[in-house]
Symmetry: C2
Subunit: 373 residues, 2 copies
């Protein structure tokens, strides 16, 4: 089945298990390791597609749960997908909707999940097949299969049941996408590995997911309550099993230390609301660590958020001005701090790629850890 894959991972360099290269798609390609800003409702909160172009983002994430409810997948399909709707010409990955839905305490059966909309309380149903259909309409470059993601800690029986049901749902999702694929669809489909922090279950889930054969592999169910010390062995047990010639995506993880550690284990793709959410609350990412812009010591500070930063916010505005805008709740504050934080994290990924290319990744990883741990 391998030659049926619609995307490929082209490795330029490795350093230990870390690797850098490009994911080739029907649309073009994007460099990895990469961070995908989260465009929940067909917009990365406070930013436009023009802002994302200026930031050099190559791929963003869209949330199936939100978009299927507002404005609805059919409407987005009519505009040529999320890209056409938002006039975004880069790549889009959509999640399956499962992660949001499982946080709503849905009624789950083998068939799928029944849940209530957070917008108007109406009832909806999402099955593996339904999620495929919605994501086809959303027109993303990469769709994710519907999985079961238990919070941690959970009893082992719950984690095992999630692995089993996720494997069954993954097979159904692949089947559901087959007609489109046979009609020439170039939308990639990623399976998702579960298994909590149990390394044996992780390896089993990885084997079972790879057996179904996807274009790439998501690693789900991590950073959902466990410590980083618990997460990393589970992640390692997963990446060891995954094919080296396909992309690997650690879902929902975005703190700098976890990113650099996961890259060291061979992860290629990340997404997280962390940099954008922190920005809106005035928490700034810098090479010295987090900076709380609300702190009174910045009230008269002429420096940019981070001296030497190449983002468009740091090019023009002082900490004092941005702190003022934040203090009086001017919406411009959130946009300008978001631009900085997204730029900062995209730049971190660029540095990771360069370090892998130069064979100095371990040094880079430790330098990030020293600041952020």
């Amino acid at each position: 089945m391998t030659d049926a894959h619609v995307i490929s991972f082209e490795c330029d360099a490795t350093d230990g298990a870390a690797r850098t290269g490009r994911v080739r798609t029907a649309r073009g390609s994007f460099a990895t390791p990469c961070f995908m800003p989260v465009g929940t409702r067909a917009s990365v909160r406070t930013l436009t597609s023009a802002d994302l172009e200026d930031l050099g983002a190559e791929i963003i994430l869209g949330n199936t749960y939100h978009l299927m409810l507002r404005p609805g997948a059919d409407l987005i399909a009519e505009f040529g997908g999320i890209g056409g709707f938002a006039d975004w010409h880069g790549h889009v990955l959509t999640d399956s909707g499962g992660f949001q839905i499982f946080s709503l305490e849905p009624k789950v059966t083998d068939e799928g999940a029944r849940f209530r909309s957070t917008y108007d309380g109406s009832y909806h149903h999402l099955s593996p097949e339904g999620s495929v259909e919605v994501q086809q309409k959303l027109g993303s470059d990469i769709q994710m299969v519907l999985d079961v993601c238990p919070p941690l800690p959970s009893p082992l029986s719950v984690v095992r049941a999630a692995v089993d049901r996720s494997a069954q749902w993954a097979a159904r999702a692949k089947l559901a996408d087959a007609p489109a694929r046979s009609m020439g669809s170039t939308q990639a489909q990623f399976g998702i590995v579960q298994g909590g922090i149990d390394t044996a279950l992780r390896a089993e889930s990885a084997h079972r997911t790879v057996e179904i054969d996807f274009d790439g592999y998501g690693i789900g169910g991590l950073s959902v309550g466990e410590s980083r010390e618990e997460m990393l062995p589970a992640l390692a047990a997963t990446t060891e099993v995954l094919p080296t010639d396909q992309p690997r995506y650690l879902m929902g993880v975005g703190d700098p230390v976890s990113i650099v550690e996961a890259v060291a284990l061979g992860v290629d793709m990340f997404d997280c609301v962390l940099p954008t959410r922190l920005a809106r609350h005035g928490t700034i990412l810098t090479s010295q660590g987090r900076m709380n812009l609300r702190n009174a010591r910045f009230a008269a500070d002429h420096e940019p958020l981070e001296p030497g930063c190449g983002c468009s916010t740091c090019a023009r505005w002082s900490r004092a001005y941005l702190r003022h805008l934040l203090s009086v709740s001017e919406p411009t504050a959130a946009r300008l701090t978001t631009i900085h934080n997204v730029h900062w994290l995209l730049r971190l990924m660029e540095q990771a790629r360069a370090a892998i290319g130069a064979g100095t990744y371990d040094q880079f990883r430790r330098s990030v850890g020293a600041v952020w741990s």
Copy 2:
């Protein structure tokens, strides 16, 4: 005293009482008739200075009341004024703070007004001299004198008392600014005409204000509760008295019909929160009138907000996308609609200038009235 003026009005063309030209200042010049977007807290709500440059705005307004309380005039002075603080290189006009303060039911004496901050309830005092001092620190290109602006309708005795006190305060404001002027300050100072809708009082107030001799003249106390039919004669009675070689600024008026009517009476400058506030609520300015973007009929509309519009929002995004962002409260919606509305109003002023130059202003005025009345 005339040769002591720090700004001048250079008339390029007239059409009836309407006139077009440039106001020359120490900073440069700006074309008139002009609309000044309102940058209440050193930011035009949802926009950056970069956005305002892209929009071609030449002058914005800053609010003394808000800025003296947050972040404080001394801090802004330390950054070289509002322009340095916001990295805005165009012109800035500051109001006196009076308009906001009078809406807080202050205790007013001959000395000035005592009021409570809307930010923290603390007590503050603003006098004509204090307002000059604050505006000097804010570093605007044009400062306004503190005046008394009664709402309409008000008893004639109240309007007369406002004219008298405004004249006394104007003289004190001019005196208060004299030391800076003799030290070479190039910050212009505008007096303000009051008088409600009483044409005799308007003429009297205009004469008394002109007698004090300012760099330009604000026309205050209009669009504060009266009808347009009551406003325009009072405005005409004012502009007839004002010197033709100095700029005239109708304060707080921004609806398209009032603007084109006021321009016909010889007004050069306008400001209003209308286009930005409407935008945030989804009301779009178009050549066909107001459009409520929240209306369900735009849900699947592929058209831009206004076909043919040259703004950066209309260049890329559909009504459907913008309506979606508005419906799910994405902050990007307000920014993109604000860009359109400000562009639209700046373009209306451009059209007014062109019509005066072409001698077709009356036709232009009637065409705007036909859509917007």
